[in-house]
């Protein structure tokens, strides 16, 4: 478990309090752009690694528009690589045909695994930019206004809050352990198992106290969502411009070297 990674995710909500042009856009606009981006990324053929390169421009540009440093923010997307690795771990074995990549013959399975990794990192990076510029709760509300079931939206919001609690409690446990074991002599699977057990017990107790606080203030099982506001010209302009950019990055040969590389590696 990496407490720092979770804490970093919670820090994204802090970034969402910014006042940039991107922050001021309706979260629904950003969510639609994020969904469009995800569709564009997923539609890239399984061996077309160079075709993904232009799409990197979209989250980088959005991060820059929000006033974030793109690289440190997008670097937080690495946990998505773990998921992609799990899903595509057997690709090199299942897809042994050979393709030429920069003069080297490699298994097409390795290429498709690389494409999966790149897709996961791109989509996760875009999700990070969206959360950092809107806040998770507002994005979830927007998902509800797109027709997602209320119970699903609410579960997402509660899951995010529980992840925050888990992060805080794990930070405290880790600090307590590090301070009393500076030479790292007592670390091992037994201690880790006990810490994880303690972490679950503590985070559940904390979640219970927060639930009690919610009940005290009239919570009856439904979180109040944000009211929809009418879109302004800047929202429509951002949606049109964003869709155009995503389409151009996906279908136009914007990066010549990527296009040439793509032509060479078609199996």
């Amino acid at each position: 478990m990496n407490a720092g990674a979770w804490s970093g995710l919670q820090e994204l909500d802090r970034l969402a309090a910014g006042h940039s042009w991107l922050h001021r856009l309706d979260p629904l606009v950003k969510l639609l752009l994020g969904l469009g981006f995800a569709v564009a990324v997923v539609s890239v053929p399984k061996y077309a690694l160079p075709s993904l390169a232009p799409l990197l421009m979209v989250p980088v540009l959005m991060a820059a528009l929000a006033g974030f440093e793109p690289l440190p923010l997008l670097a937080r997307a690495w946990p998505a690589a773990g998921v992609a690795l799990m899903l595509g771990a057997f690709n090199p074995l299942l897809d042994p045909q050979r393709v030429d990549v920069a003069g080297c013959q490699v298994s097409a399975g390795w290429l498709s695994l690389a494409v999966m990794l790149a897709k996961a990192l791109l989509v996760a990076g875009m999700a990070l930019v969206l959360v950092a510029s809107s806040g998770f709760a507002r994005l979830a509300d927007s998902l509800g206004s797109l027709g997602a079931p209320h119970i699903f939206v609410q579960q997402l919001q509660l899951l995010w809050r529980y992840a925050g609690l888990l992060a805080e409690e794990s930070d405290r446990l880790k600090r307590a352990r590090d301070l009393r074991d500076p030479l790292a002599r007592a670390r091992g699977p037994r201690l880790a198992a006990r810490l994880i057990g303690g972490l679950l017990a503590r985070s559940l107790a904390r979640a219970e106290r927060i639930h009690q606080a919610m009940l005290c203030r009239g919570f009856r099982g439904s979180l109040p969502g944000a009211a929809l506001r009418p879109w302004g010209p800047q929202d429509w302009a951002a949606l049109a411009g964003g869709c155009g950019l995503i389409g151009a990055c996906r279908f136009l040969p914007l990066v010549p070297w990527a296009q040439q590389a793509l032509e060479r590696i078609q199996p």
């Binding site: 507002r138 927060i210 203030r217 919570f219 109040p224 009211a227």
Partner: protein, 252 residues
């Protein structure tokens, strides 16, 4: 129907592990009362507060708010009348921004978002925290979070305000601001605290608990100055009345 009366009638509570936390407690609070609740650790203060709005229900006896008996069928109504401020503001604040958190209660009372936000801003203003409205609670100082937690409860316009260790972990200046703030409230208040000087300043009346039983109920200056009573309750005299504090009046 008046809700400005809160009655504990022979309330006992036993936790599932068998611990008897409250043992036959009876007392009443009336409109405008400001009452301190003191006792050693484990004396039942937090358990008592949890009975005020039905987070816990008595094993024996009854609690009523005005004409409403606190029970499974009346919790929603009772919780509109009794606001509980938790000891740790982090247990209470959970929305992305202070404004949304304070507006959570009013939204649950059926207000529109605009009405709820107006009520929330008013509550934040009343605790001097309107400038914090857009800030995420986890990035506020402890004193600021305590103020926002109180605003979150005030926004629901409760008749009774119950506070669990409101000054715990606050620095002296934040503690002083909190005392001034609470002095200004016209709500009926029940303040559970180990800070006996705070209780002396805020509460003319005090309930002294020991092992779940009511050891004394009366004038706070008289009871909290009684060395034998304090000894029996597992407490010490407040600094402002003890020789250690050189009898120098309220500590500020």
């Amino acid at each position: 129907m008046s809700h400005h009366r809160l009655v504990f009638d022979r309330v006992s509570y036993r936790y599932p592990d068998g611990t008897l936390a409250l043992d036959g407690l009876s007392f009443e609070l009336h409109h405008g009362d400001s009452v301190g609740l003191v006792g050693a650790n484990g004396s039942g203060k937090s358990t008592l507060l949890s009975h005020l709005n039905g987070l816990l229900l008595p094993s024996q006896g009854s609690v009523s708010v005005g004409d409403l008996p606190v029970g499974p069928g009346t919790l929603a109504q009772v919780r509109q009348h009794v606001g509980l401020v938790f000891q740790d503001p982090d247990d209470q604040l959970f929305m992305p921004t202070a404004l949304e958190d304070v507006a959570f209660g009013p939204r649950n009372q059926g207000m529109t978002q605009a009405q709820a936000e107006a009520a929330a801003m008013e509550a934040l203003r009343s605790v001097g925290a309107e400038a914090l409205a857009a800030r995420p609670p986890q990035h506020l100082s402890l004193g600021q979070r305590s103020a926002v937690a109180i605003a979150a409860v005030l926004a629901g316009c409760p008749d009774f305000l119950a506070l669990d260790e409101p000054a715990a972990r606050l620095d002296p200046r934040a503690r002083r601001r909190l005392i001034t703030l609470l002095h200004g409230f016209k709500h009926s208040k029940l303040v559970a605290s180990h800070d006996l000087d705070l209780v002396l300043e805020l509460c003319p009346r005090v309930l002294v608990l020991k092992e779940g039983r009511l050891l004394a109920d009366g004038d706070s200056r008289r009871l909290l100055s009684d060395p034998d009573l304090m000894q029996a309750a597992g407490l010490e005299l407040p600094l402002s009345v003890s020789p250690r504090g050189m009898g120098a009046g309220p500590v500020i």
